[in-house]
Every structure is written in structure tokens, then in C-alpha cells.
């Protein structure tokens, strides 16, 4: 736990120094989006990595956080900071409800994945057809630039906000790793019957994990709303978000503290740089991105974090 806390402190320092040192819009934007992608991956890792429940529909919680926050601000006249908290709470409640419906009936594996996908699609279609969500037109947040309205003039304000969320997610993950709940969650992941035989309640542990995971995803959704000030059902409830969340976590390393952050950041930088490099050949960037993804999944079954661990073990063995 102490080592984890020290690493998290070092991470905060790095982000702070980087942000203070540069005024380049491109660099700051890349950092902000990498952190945002990391937050999504961390959220997915809480349920998928530690709980072993592979959700294919995390857009459900993302969209819920974004829409709840937008509606609270636009229809309810609620302050943006409070609306963000409401978005997180709404996503957490939705996570609990979806978990209660799916885990109570023992859905796991591909069945759980399909049901989460279906939930996200249902919400996407509901948001497309209902009035208070703006239908297909989506919702446009009125421009009121001020820190009090969570609309920062500089990217640095948004970086501070998303970095704060990432650090909270890191702390939550680190705490989980060193707690009874975390031990029970991983036991259920590895062998549910054996866990039950030693007194672990699988439903309770999975519900805790999905609620926490959904809350963090909701925070990412509410953050997205504040940055882009526009959401529509196809973006925030679409499968793209769900895939971004799971790919970052899987590439980085499931059930690790730093893997999702690493995976999301690497993939995001890769996508960004190939897009910039091969801008005149549309589509080539996606080919390269896809190839790298396949290679990582093929040759690093434990993700980037697993690779780093093997390398450091090999290095230690050579020195020792």
C-alpha cells in the first residue's frame, strides 16, 4: 500500500510538472484526452479486471453520467459541479440496478457481456426517442466559461479535473487491492464456487464492484460533457465508448493498478500520432492501430503491465 501511494504521488508530480512546463495546445490536449481514456479504462478494470465480469456496455454508465449532468444543468438549473456529482451518483445507481438484475440470475461471461451491450443499446434508443434527452439532436450545454461552471478557459483546468478523477480511481483501486472486498472479489473472479465455500457472497461483491465501476465511468461521462459541451445518444451511449473502456484495460493489463492507465495512454498516443502522420492517407492510421492492437493481444497476454513485470524480473535475474 505504501509503495502504491508513493507511485501515485510521483504520478501526480509528473502530471503537474508537465502541465506547468508547456503551453502547447496540442500537447495539453493530448494529455487531457489520454487521462480521460485512462479514467474509462480504470473504471472498466474495477469490474472486468478485478471482478472478472466483462462488460460490453460501459457506455451505459458513461451516457448516464453525461446525460444526468446535462439535464440537471439545463433543465434543473443546477450548478455544474453539483450536476457532475449527480451524474456520478446516477451512474452508480444505474450500475447497482443493472448488477442486481444480471448478477442475481447468475449471468456471467459472454451472457453478461451481451446483456450489458443490450442495456446500453436500449438506453441509446431511449435517448434518441425521448424529449427530455433532446432526441437525436442531442443536448448542447450553454457556453458559460468560468471555473464555477466547470467550463475552464484553459485546458489546464480540465487536466486538473480529469487528473483528479484518475488519482481518485487509482486510490480506490489501491485500497481495493488491500481490502477484504478486493480479496473476495478476486476470489469470486478466479473461482466462484470455491469462494462461496469459504463464505464469500458473490452477489454482494459483484454489486459493489459494478457500482464503483459505474460511478467512475459516470465521472468520465460528465467530464466529457464539460469538455465538449455537446452530447448525443450515438456518441455517449454508443459501442465506441464501451470498446474504448475495455480495450485500454485489456491492453494495459487486467487486474493491475497501473495497467489501464498505461494501456489507455499508449493506445491514445498511438491513435493520435498515426492520425497526424498519415493524415493524407485516410484509413491507414486505423490499419496501423488495428495491427498494433492485434500484436499486443497476441504477444502480451498479460498486457503492457505484465510485459513490464516480466522485463523487470528478467533484468533483476541478470543482475542477481
Amino acid at each position: 500500500m505504501k509503495a502504491d501511494l508513493a507511485a501515485i504521488a510521483a504520478f501526480v508530480l509528473c502530471i503537474g510538472v508537465f502541465t506547468a512546463a508547456t503551453d502547447s495546445g496540442v500537447l495539453l490536449n493530448a494529455l487531457m484526452m489520454a487521462l480521460y481514456a485512462a479514467l474509462l479504462a480504470q473504471a472498466w478494470n474495477l469490474l472486468g479486471g478485478y471482478g472478472g465480469q466483462f462488460s460490453f456496455g460501459h457506455a451505459l454508465f458513461f451516457g448516464c453520467g453525461a446525460y444526468a449532468s446535462a439535464i440537471a444543468q439545463m433543465s434543473g438549473g443546477v450548478n455544474a459541479w453539483l450536476a457532475l456529482a449527480l451524474g456520478v451518483a446516477a451512474a452508480a445507481l444505474l450500475g447497482l440496478a443493472v448488477g442486481a438484475l444480471t448478477f442475481r440470475y447468475g449471468l456471467k461471461g459472454s451472457y453478461f457481456a451481451l446483456v450489458t451491450l443490450a442495456f446500453a443499446e436500449v438506453f441509446r434508443i431511449l435517448a434518441l426517442s425521448l424529449d427530455f434527452t433532446g432526441g437525436g439532436v442531442g443536448l448542447m450545454l450553454p457556453l458559460k466559461p468560468a471555473a464555477a461552471n466547470l467550463q475552464f478557459v484553459s485546458r489546464k483546468g480540465f487536466i486538473a479535473l480529469v487528473a483528479g478523477f484518475v488519482v481518485l480511481a487509482l486510490l480506490a483501486t489501491a485500497a481495493l487491492r488491500h481490502s477484504r472486498l478486493g480479496a473476495q472479489l478476486q476470489a469470486v473472479r478466479d473461482n466462484e464456487d470455491a469462494a462461496r465455500a469459504v463464505g464469500v457472497d458473490p452477489l454482494r461483491t459483484k454489486l459493489a464492484a459494478i457500482t464503483l465501476s459505474a460511478a467512475v465511468t459516470g465521472a468520465a461521462g460528465a467530464f466529457y460533457l464539460q469538455v465538449f459541451q455537446y452530447i448525443d445518444p450515438n456518441i455517449v451511449f454508443g459501442p465506441g465508448i464501451s470498446i474504448e473502456a475495455l480495450v485500454g484495460a485489456i491492453v494495459g493489463g487486467l487486474g493491475t493498478l497501473w495497467g489501464p492507465l498505461l494501456g489507455a495512454a499508449v493506445l491514445h498516443l498511438l491513435a493520435d500520432s498515426t492520425r497526424n502522420l498519415f493524415g493524407e492517407l485516410p484509413g491507414l492510421n486505423l490499419v496501423i492501430y488495428g495491427t498494433v492492437l492485434v500484436l499486443i493481444v497476441m504477444f502480451m497476454p498479460r498486457g503492457l503491465a505484465g510485459l513490464l513485470r516480466s522485463l523487470s524480473a528478467a533484468w533483476k535475474a541478470r543482475r542477481g
Binding site: 488491500h178 481490502s179 477484504r180 480479496a183 473476495q184 478476486q186 476470489a187 478466479d190 473461482n191 464456487d193 470455491a194 469462494a195 462461496r196 465455500a197 469459504v198 463464505g199 464469500v200 457472497d201 458473490p202 487486474g255
Partner: protein
């Protein structure tokens, strides 16, 4: 009888389709017993364990543990009251270390991570797993995994331990090392019921033996009584075997 028995089964039965896997089984296991449940392959021993521990719900009959009706209650709730079981096919949390595996059991009554890890160290030392504490469970030998299975169940501080073939797959030397482990557990006051095929162990360990054949109890008594019972010999060796042996 219900007052003194820690575990009592009354006319317990379950069918899978047309197969009556367990039928009309009644037994009373007094507190402090080291009992054995034996029987030919497919007799329904593991199914009976699953009915006792709550992994299966019986079609008929009732299960009483410490005087309370626990028929069909979820296994995690039974574990909380002190009814622990191990699995015939060992079920380690493979990705985790031996210490972490045992700590999951210890967490049943200990919230603090530190206390659970310390308790795991204690149980591991008792079962001779101390040198392996930091190994991933997947790296253990079969004998090591059987010990781990036992350690994890023991870490929950059970009153009744259901052991499903902890000796299966072990070589004679490993069996010789495991028997005193089971004896020590029973000596600490834990009531034990073990499914076992290794008769050497049953004769050495058990004070009472129940014999299950084709889902029904056919005999019960001391190991010596049971092994000379004609019904039991025939269940294992076929009809007429008892008469041939007597000749």
C-alpha cells in the same frame, strides 16, 4: 439425537432427471466425531456433500446443522455458521499466491487485510505450507493443492469440516504425511466428515463410517464393523462376493 448431533440429515434425497442420485439418506454426526463416508464410484457421496453444504437443494428431506434447519441455504451462509467444505477437484484461486488464497478464508471472520494475512501464515505453518506462501497457487503440486484446499477451509475456523477426497491423487508417502494433518485438525475439536477411497486412511482415522451405495446408506458403524458387512462387500465387489470371501 438432534440435540447432540452437530449435523443431522433426515430422509435427504435428490434426483437428476430419472436418476435418484441420493435417496432417503438419514444420518447424525455427533460433535467431535471424525467420520468417513465411503462407497463405490458414483454412489452419490459428493452429491450428498453438496446437499449438506448448500451447493445443491434437496428434492426431499431436511438438513440440520447445530440444531438449525439449513436445508437449501446458500453455502456462503453455512460457511459463516461454521460449515466448511473442500472440493474433490481442487479449486484454487490460481492467479493468487498461497497466502492470498488462505487469506480469503480468514477474511470470513477478519475484516482487516493485515489480520487475515497473518492468520493465513498461521494456518499455512500448521499444514506445512509455510515455504510455499509466496508461490502462485497454480505452481503447487497436487499434494500442495490438497493442503491449500484444506488450509483455506480451515482458515474460516469451521465447526464442521467436510473433506472431499483430500487424499485422492497422492502417493503413499504424501498420504502418510496427510493423515496426521487430518488427525491434528480433529484433535483441535473440529468435527470432520471425510469422503475417502483410501481405506488405509479410513481405518486409521475414522471412528464412525457410513457406506453409501447407489444413493442410499447401506451400513454404518466402526471401520471394522463396516468392512465385514456383507452388504458393503457386495456393493464394492458384486453380488455373491461376501459368500465367496467367507468360504
Amino acid at each position: 439425537m438432534a440435540d447432540t448431533a452437530l449435523l443431522q440429515l433426515q430422509a435427504l434425497g435428490i434426483s437428476f432427471g430419472g436418476l435418484r442420485a441420493v435417496h432417503d439418506v438419514s444420518l447424525a454426526l455427533p460433535q467431535g466425531t471424525l467420520g468417513a463416508l465411503i462407497g463405490p464410484n458414483g454412489a452419490g457421496k459428493t452429491t450428498l456433500f453438496a446437499l449438506m453444504s448448500g451447493f445443491l437443494k434437496p428434492d426431499a428431506g431436511r438438513v440440520f446443522f447445530a440444531g438449525r434447519d439449513i436445508t437449501g441455504r446458500a453455502p456462503q451462509l453455512n460457511a459463516r455458521d461454521g460449515l466448511a467444505r473442500t472440493f474433490q477437484v481442487v479449486q484454487p484461486f490460481a492467479a493468487q499466491t498461497v497466502r492470498e488464497n488462505i487469506a480469503v478464508g480468514a477474511h470470513l471472520h477478519l475484516k482487516s487485510r493485515r489480520a487475515a494475512l497473518a492468520a493465513a501464515d498461521g494456518v499455512a505453518a500448521e499444514l506445512g505450507l509455510a515455504p510455499q506462501l509466496d508461490k502462485p497457487a497454480a505452481d503447487l503440486t497436487v499434494a500442495g493443492r490438497k493442503r491449500l484446499e484444506l488450509a483455506r477451509a480451515l482458515a474460516t475456523k469451521p465447526r464442521l469440516l467436510l473433506l472431499d477426497e483430500v487424499l485422492a491423487g497422492l502417493n503413499p508417502q504424501e498420504i502418510g504425511e496427510m493423515i496426521p494433518v487430518v488427525q491434528r485438525i480433529a484433535a483441535r475439536g473440529v468435527t470432520v466428515l471425510m469422503i475417502e477411497h483410501v481405506m488405509q486412511a479410513v481405518m486409521n482415522l475414522a471412528t464412525t463410517v457410513w457406506v453409501l451405495a447407489q444413493g442410499q446408506l447401506i451400513a454404518h458403524g466402526t471401520p471394522a464393523e463396516v468392512t465385514s458387512d456383507a452388504l458393503v462387500i457386495e456393493a464394492y465387489l458384486g453380488p455373491g462376493a461376501a459368500a465367496r470371501l467367507a468360504r
